[in-house]
């Protein structure tokens, strides 16, 4: 492992909240977890938060489902600690009411008459208000009330997907529009102020495929329009070209030198039938097609002008070892 001195500095000094979003299926939970590991250098503590009730973090780190409480799930890439939290909207509401209004038994009364249920499930935006409120609390929490050091050096949010991210993060602006004065208005304004500040960065995870890239550029403009600070573009599951440029072009055209491949296979001690050789050449053509597609999409992403990190495809799937490898790669590229 490279020592801290040999590493380039992080691109995100001063960022306390890393929001990780992406189209469904791009691997945003994996990237969020890898980023949390990457940020946990010597003596640093990172909190990884999920808000969608999927228990994706627990499955990734191979631990039992997370209760509503923060607990350590891993040691980071640099020796620090990674804590995890699965936020539950209902618990967050009761905690919030208790903290700000000392409701105690009255809070339970609200649950009995269905008010808690209303707030967390029927009034849809309320959920997002509570979830963002809890995240805000965790980012600002200090060990000793107001004066001690911060509990977490960084918070990484495995956020809702790109289609919903702007609405999710900007929900407090909506609240400010509804509540002209009062405690809710004040809380909404502070959260919105923090989320639009340079202490927040919204990272976009994508694959080098047309629709994920399209959603990434759409989300980038929506986030910018809402005043939310864009972070990096993280390109996941990148395939390395396995052939020379000229061979890739020939493979796409179907003019790859078959006798040369055949001779090479014999030299490698691999004997295949004619039909299997045909199949191998089809696979090579598909690979070349895919590489060409990736090149075109990479160009579109470059147009966003954001720091861009690339993570390799893990053909065997993501296990804990793979997660650390991705974290290391993110550190090497300056993400942490």
């Amino acid at each position: 492992m490279a020592g801290d001195s040999s590493r380039r500095g992080s691109d995100w000094e001063g960022v306390r909240l890393h929001v990780v979003t992406g189209k469904g299926g791009t691997g945003k939970t994996t990237v969020a977890a890898a980023l949390a590991l990457a940020l946990s250098g010597q003596g640093r503590r990172t909190l990884l938060v999920e808000v969608e009730g999927r228990q994706g973090i627990a499955q990734l780190f191979d631990v039992p489902p997370l209760p509503y409480g923060e607990r350590k799930v891993a040691t980071g890439a640099g020796g620090g600690d990674v804590y995890a939290l699965a936020v539950d909207a209902e618990e967050a509401l009761l905690e919030y009411l208790d903290m700000f209004y000392r409701l105690g038994r009255a809070g339970r009364g609200l649950r009995r008459i269905g008010a808690i249920d209303f707030a967390t499930t029927i009034a849809p935006g309320m959920r997002d208000v509570l979830l963002t409120g809890k995240i805000y609390e965790a980012v600002r929490r200090r060990t000793d009330g107001r004066s001690g050091p911060l509990v977490y050096d960084a918070v990484v949010l495995d956020a809702p997907p790109t289609g919903r991210i702007t609405r999710f993060l900007a929900v407090n602006a909506e609240v400010s529009g509804l509540a002209k004065v009062g405690p809710i208005r004040n809380q909404a304004d502070s959260i919105m102020g923090f989320l639009t500040s340079p202490q927040t960065a919204v990272h976009l995870v994508t694959l080098l495929e047309e629709m994920p890239v399209q959603e990434t550029t759409d989300a980038a403009s929506e986030l910018t329009a809402a005043g939310l600070p864009l972070g990096a573009v993280v390109v996941n599951s990148v395939r390395e070209p396995q052939l020379k440029v000229a061979d890739l072009a020939a493979a796409r055209k179907g003019t790859l030198a078959r006798p040369e491949v055949e001779a090479g296979l014999v030299a490698a001690g691999v004997n295949v039938r004619e039909s299997a050789l045909d199949a191998l050449l089809v696979e090579v053509a598909e690979h070349a097609e895919r590489i060409a597609l990736e090149k075109a999409e990479r160009k579109v992403l470059k147009g966003l002008g954001r720091p861009t990190y690339e993570l390799p495809l893990l053909p065997d799937g993501v296990d804990l070892g793979g997660l650390y490898a991705l974290a290391e790669s993110l550190r090497d590229q300056g993400a942490a």
Binding site: G163, A179, L265, A276
Partner: protein, 376 residues
């Protein structure tokens, strides 16, 4: 042990099939599957409409349409020689909500609802309203009798079955005490509940006012009061749509990709649909990798590539072997995930759709997917 094959052509060809619901987690190709099923049905003679509910407008892209609004539009380029046709639409959440208000509230109250700030946020910008409106629109399309098949692409929800839960949640909310208290006795029974709670109306509203702020509470009360007249009808229709989904004229198609998370969600859907007594047609497993050279294992291909690398010759063949090795590793992982699903659900019919090299974004691409779905 192999699962039965999912015969979607039989589902599409059965005139008794009136609704197909595609559900699955985000990014598994749900929209593409819905569009491909609609197109295939239309070209086999059905009068079909596809309803998509996605802010990224992916269906518009994949069907070559530049704009979809809240009304179904004829898709051009469809082969209508079998007597069928295809319409497509995208749900406009706010417009659907407004239409419900205008159709069901008393004329005097409708404007009050539309003008209420709480309504305006709820109907247009808060996430989650989609599920209610998707159910509403599905019910409307089905009731119009203009189509003999409605194909629905479900919202990309936190939990993709949220749209099934929406009517029930609405029902329990309407029957709940909270709304009576909010209404402050405007509805009968409100005060009785308060007495049971042993608290005065003033105390509860004072607490809510303290939490929400007086002005927000006033807007919420205004909104709830205005909606009160139409709630009953709204709920009745949501319940009717829910029951419609349970009938044999509906086919649920669970869509997944051969990825761990997507298949886990698929398992959950299969179980939930059984619990809700919703008719499941089967699982569509999208983007499955195959190989015509399976006899050459990943290990042997890798070893061959290494031999060539050591000897320093044949870079092209070495590349070919590495490409095949990667393909075989992906394929083996996908097969093991597939086995995990099928052994847990041995009776669920499954159809595989091969991975395409590029994205599907035209009717020709949808036809190719449709052929795979039809089993050919």
């Amino acid at each position: 042990m192999t699962n039965p094959a999912l015969d979607l052509d039989a589902v599409l060809g059965d005139p008794a099939t009136r609704i197909i619901v595609c559900c699955g987690s985000g990014g598994v190709g749900k929209t593409t599957t819905a569009a491909a099923l609609g197109l295939r049905a239309a070209e086999q003679g059905r009068t079909a409409v596809v309803l998509t509910i996605d802010p990224a407008r992916r269906l518009a892209q994949s069907m070559g349409l530049t704009e979809l609004d809240n009304t179904p539009r004829r898709v051009t380029g469809v082969d209508e020689s079998a007597g069928g046709s295809l319409d497509a639409m995208m749900l406009d959440m706010k417009r659907t909500f407004d239409e419900v208000v205008l159709a069901h509230a008393e004329p005097g109250k409708a404007q009050a609802i539309l003008d209420n700030p709480f309504y305006q946020s709820l109907s247009s910008s808060f996430s989650g309203t989609q599920e209610y409106m998707a159910m509403e629109k599905l019910g409307q399309l089905r009731a119009e009798e203009r189509w003999d098949l409605v194909v629905v692409d479900t919202p990309p929800s936190r939990s993709a079955l949220d749209f099934l839960d929406a009517p029930k949640r609405l029902g329990s909310f309407l029957d709940g005490r909270f709304i009576s208290i909010l209404m402050g006795g405007a509805r009968s029974g409100g005060r009785a509940y308060l007495k049971m709670l042993g608290a005065g109306l003033g105390a509860v509203t004072a607490m809510l006012s303290r939490i929400l702020g007086a002005q927000v509470l006033k807007d919420v009360q205004g909104f709830v009061a205005a909606l009160d007249t139409m709630f009953g009808g709204f709920r009745e229709r949501a319940d009717a749509t829910y029951r419609l989904l349970q009938t044999s004229g509906t086919a649920f198609v669970v869509v997944a990709a051969p990825e761990r998370d997507a298949l886990r969600e698929a398992s959950y859907f299969v179980e939930r649909l059984a619990e809700e007594e919703m008719p499941l047609a089967g699982l569509v497993l999208n983007r499955v990798h195959g190989s015509g050279a399976r006899s050459l294992s990943a290990a042997r291909a890798t070893a061959g590539a290494e031999t060539l690398a050591e000897e320093g010759g044949h870079p092209l063949a070495a590349g070919v072997l590495r490409i095949h090795a990667e393909r075989m590793r992906v394929l083996e992982r996908e097969q093991s995930l597939r086995r995990r699903f099928t052994s847990a659900h041995p009776r669920v019919p499954v159809v595989d759709v091969p991975a395409q090299a590029g994205d599907v974004h035209d009717l020709a691409g949808l036809r190719t997917v449709g052929e795979a779905l039809g089993g050919s």
